[in-house]
Symmetry: C2
Subunit: 325 residues, 2 copies
């Protein structure tokens, strides 16, 4: 049996209250002598705090729950890195609940699991909530914050890149390189996707460029998506494509090369994300680069009630996948 504070108390000849005080380092509420004795015995017995009991009585954990989708892109690592660092410096632990592959059911499950324990906040990374999820979250009284995704409601916490702006920047970059027929590939049909469509359309409109319906192709941000979508663009005569993620861009690129299309001369691609994938691909992918680490850091701040921005700035990283026309 694992030792409890009661065991320590018995051995030390003090009450459990004193042991508790010592172990919680409650400043000056016990004598140095008692402190030393208790600490020594605790160590001898290999005592380890039972956090379950602590949480039960405190009704507040020191744990931030992060719910992530297994998005087929690889930026989550950076976000979690930021979350972890900042959580640590605020004395919080991090647990990650995995919501499967955009499965609404597993997603719901994950939120329930989070709510079923004493938690200081919930971070939803790239999670599109459905009606039921929202009801659950709002009814629970636990702070929650969307990460790398935002709804258009300002009473709901979120930290993300500005999707409208990201797509606007990407599209403008292509326009600046002389492209007039520009596609948008791989976005989803929910918030992020439609925000990016807005930015894309805005850039096109500002330059009096028409947008044809089949220049916008939905997908799921995955490599497979990109691979598939290139074929769909063949008939459209676009000269440049804004890819919804590095993975989509890589898919487009490789499919193009298989078809003998020269990159970037016959087709330019600009990617959104800017992870290491951009360097691995050949030619290296020019990207709108998101600062995922900072997104992670600020999301912790926000969910813990500190001041934090909604939008984290992005920038364009020039590589070799966009040609001047």
């Amino acid at each position: 049996m694992k030792p409890t504070i009661k065991d320590i108390a018995d051995k030390a000849g003090v009450s459990i209250a004193t042991v508790s005080r010592v172990l919680a380092s409650k400043g000056d509420s016990y004598s140095k002598k008692t402190g030393r004795k208790v600490l020594k015995i605790a160590k001898e017995m290999g005592y380890r705090k039972n956090n379950t009991a602590v949480e039960l009585v405190k009704k507040k954990g020191n744990v931030i729950a992060v719910i992530i989708n297994a998005t087929p892109t690889n930026f989550s690592t950076q976000i979690i890195d930021g979350i972890q660092k900042q959580a640590n410096s605020l004395g919080q632990h991090v647990i990650i609940l995995y919501a499967g592959n955009r499965s609404p059911e597993l997603q719901h499950q994950a939120i329930l699991t989070a709510l079923e324990r004493a938690i200081s906040g919930i971070l939803l990374v790239a999670i599109e909530p459905d009606q039921e999820d929202m009801k659950l979250l709002e009814g629970a009284g636990t702070p929650f914050c969307f990460v790398s995704l935002y709804l258009e409601q300002n009473n709901i916490l979120a930290v993300s890149s500005n999707n409208r702006d990201v797509a606007y920047q990407a599209t403008n970059y292509l326009i600046g390189h002389g492209h007039k027929k520009i596609g948008l590939a791989g976005i989803d049909q929910y918030h992020t996707g439609s925000q990016r469509i807005d930015g894309y359309r805005l850039a096109m409109k500002e330059h009096q460029l028409d947008v044809e319906d089949d220049w916008i192709k939905l997908g799921d941000y995955s490599y497979a998506s990109g691979l598939k979508l290139l074929g769909d663009f063949l008939s459209t005569r676009v000269t440049g494509i804004v890819a919804a993620s590095d993975m989509v861009a890589a898919g487009l690129l490789n499919a193009a090369q298989q078809k003998g299309i020269q990159l970037p001369d016959q087709l330019s691609i600009i990617s959104i994300d800017g992870t290491v994938i951009c360097q691995i691909a050949t030619p290296a992918l020019t990207s709108v680069t998101q600062d995922f680490y900072t997104i992670g850091v600020e999301s912790v701040n926000k969910v813990m009630g500190k001041k934090a921005p909604l939008f984290i700035p992005t920038h364009i990283t020039k590589r070799s996948s966009v040609a001047e026309i």
Copy 2:
């Protein structure tokens, strides 16, 4: 205030024991009528079980803790996918504790966090334990299992690919294509690394090929590692390299291309892992492909006390990065 079973009991005019029995669906220990009434009221009040309390009394959670390193390779997603699926089917939840970037301190922290709550098992994904970690784990009485890494002690649970065999296969593949001067790039200096060195040396020895010391280069499985290591190989005249991970392979490959070295004609690379990175790279990387999903599934089985193999089979996926000499 969140409603508790006591609130439900009051409203329903029954005792908390009955409510508990109904909510836990304890078969036939209550009447259908009471069951319906309690369930209805619970729903009305938006009751949600407090798992903290449950765990405290049961002293056993239904949670598997997964500790992962932010390995700069991307296979963890697949492992976790497998873990998640199998855990689900065994009625277990999964929480993931992030051990930072091979930081011994954070790693220790993560193990402590896991042990501080009632948990059914600990899965350590690609974690190299140090002395202290092992003492902690062994002393805790909680089952634990290494995943995608194994020590050479058969009383310690693990599920992994056979590293010796993986390196042996990879090396043999290059030898089979006529290579005689073969490097090994990016392995670590711990268990996995030395197991792979063994396999590599064995294959070379079986074909009466000498191994020069500077054909083996240590690294950390990252893209940056690969990028850097290519330079170190320049003076060695190896014609083929076994890369310790897809990321290392991608780094080697891109560095080579920057130096104007033709792949695969002037340099062949075979990668270990076989994730999507192999397809993204150009030329596509031939790999020893690991079955990460199954590794995840079986690690859950093992840590839950079911029968499960130590080694999960691998296979070679032929792509375009190895040339015949």
